[in-house]
């Protein structure tokens, strides 16, 4: 008995150290529905960071930009470039969507890697990147679906649905299937990448204390940025695809 409890205690200590908690949620109740509190908290922080920094940097634009304004101009140029390459000349109205998609995912991912969320203890579950939760990624993916349907319908009207029998009606099932696979692949790609990245870092930290996880952490930062870019680029590509004229 003693040996057993002792071993359990040491194991307990180990798990406290690693703190792997997957699928644990800090539930809130709103009007009879459950929500994941930790996701909402971190998403608020991310939104606050984005709005605050943007408001601060673009408050009083100068002809010759410096510091923050320079950075934000660079980011805007980047977003416009991504939108323009994927959507084409009519990219203008879609810049806010693509840009917010990119910035929100990017800041979320990096907040999971850089902000010391673990210092704040929750009664249940733990704070992590909002994109660590399937709800966030599915929400973003569904918004992308809605966006490209809206883009196609507003551009071409009902003839947009003609794309389902292009180039031949035989492909109709596959074309319909695409509308389901697009959000599915978008959401699961992001979710899986971020979750896996966080898990790898946590497990490595629990196994090897200090130096070894650092390259993995940098790799995680890299992956996070790439995932944000992929999500935004694919969203723009879907929108551009539904807007372009089919022959």
């Amino acid at each position: 008995m003693n040996v057993l409890s002792c071993s359990i205690n040491t194991l307990n200590g180990l798990y406290d150290l690693s703190g792997v908690e997957v699928g644990q949620h800090f539930y809130w109740k709103i009007g009879g529905f459950q929500v994941h509190g930790q996701v909402l908290i971190t998403s608020w922080v991310v939104i606050a960071i984005l709005l605050g920094s943007a408001a601060l940097a673009v408050r009083n634009p100068q002809t010759i930009p410096t510091g923050g304004q320079n950075f934000f101009e660079y980011v805007l140029e980047f977003i416009r470039d991504v939108s323009k390459t994927q959507i084409g000349e009519e990219y203008g109205p879609w810049v806010p969507f693509i840009g917010t998609m990119f910035l929100f995912i990017f800041v979320s991912n990096w907040s999971g890697a850089l902000l010391p969320w673990k210092l704040i203890q929750l009664p249940h579950g733990e704070l992590a990147a909002p994109t660590n939760d399937i709800n966030t990624t599915v929400a973003l993916a569904l918004l992308t679906s809605v966006a490209y349907f809206y883009a196609g319908l507003s551009k071409k009207g009902l003839s947009y649905f003609g794309k389902y029998i292009q180039p031949t009606p035989i492909l109709l099932p596959i074309n319909i299937l695409e509308d389901f696979t697009k959000p599915l692949s978008l959401s699961f790609r992001l979710f899986g990448n971020i979750l896996a990245d966080e898990l790898v870092v946590v497990v490595l930290v629990s196994l090897v204390p200090s130096v070894v996880p650092i390259p993995v952490m940098f790799l995680g930062l890299f992956t996070s940025g790439i995932q944000a870019l992929i999500f935004a680029t694919l969203a723009a590509a879907y929108i551009g695809e539904s807007m372009e004229g089919h022959h």
């Binding site: 359990i8 699928g23 929500v35 673009v58 805007l76 140029e77 709800n135």
Partner: protein, 209 residues
């Protein structure tokens, strides 16, 4: 699979007798576990009494960990979507639109300035041509004026010269005339004296006769 692993690991965390029971007791804050908490409590109490640590916590925590899901969809999804839309509109108002229009305006300004610089080079050329034309005209005017002046002075000089020459000639003519007259006079006067003189000469030469 991961779920299962994590679930079993979590068992070990919450299982220790004394320090870890408070967290399981605080869980009732959350609605659903409320149903399980009395059971959990009784279980843990029972286990602590019986000191059968290894076996008993598993069922209660298994119940709890059935809720631990990766793919747990709930109201978070629409809330995040709404938050995203809010962020999109606010960022558009705060960031994309103002900074974008500012950058476009600046680009247009720079382009305009550049093209205006190119225009001024054409303008400069035109001005240079104008200046050259003005210079040419001025030079032509000056040379014309010079020529005219030269001509005028030459004519004047010629006229004066001709006048002087005429005068001199007239004077010369007069002088010549006078000289001729004097000559004739002298010849006439000499003529009258010639007889006397010749007589005298003859007398002198031939005195003896």
């Amino acid at each position: 699979m991961a779920n299962m692993i994590m679930a079993s690991s979590k068992t070990l965390i919450t299982s220790p007798p004394a320090p870890k029971t408070p967290p399981t007791l605080t869980l009732p804050l959350i609605s659903k576990p409320l149903k399980f908490s009395p059971k959990t409590l009784s279980f843990t109490l029972a286990t602590t009494l019986a000191t059968t640590l290894a076996a008993t916590p598993l069922p209660s925590l298994a119940e709890e960990f059935e809720k631990a899901q990766l793919f747990d969809f709930d109201l978070t999804l629409p809330i995040i979507a709404a938050e995203f839309l809010f962020l999109m509109f606010t960022l558009d108002k705060l960031y994309y639109s103002p900074l974008g229009s500012f950058m476009d305006k600046r680009d247009a300004e720079i382009k305009e300035k550049l093209s205006s610089v190119k225009d001024t080079s054409a303008e400069v050329k035109q001005l240079e041509e104008q200046a050259a034309a003005v210079m040419r005209a001025a030079r032509a005017e000056i040379s014309a004026a010079l020529n005219q002046m030269k001509k005028e002075t030459a004519a004047e000089v010629d006229a004066k010269l001709a006048e002087g020459r005429k005068k001199v000639e007239a004077e010369l003519q007069e002088a010549l005339l006078q000289l001729e007259k004097q000559k004739e006079d002298t010849i006439k006067s000499l003529d009258s004296q010639i007889a006397a003189l010749s007589q005298e000469i003859v007398n002198k030469v031939l005195p003896v006769q």
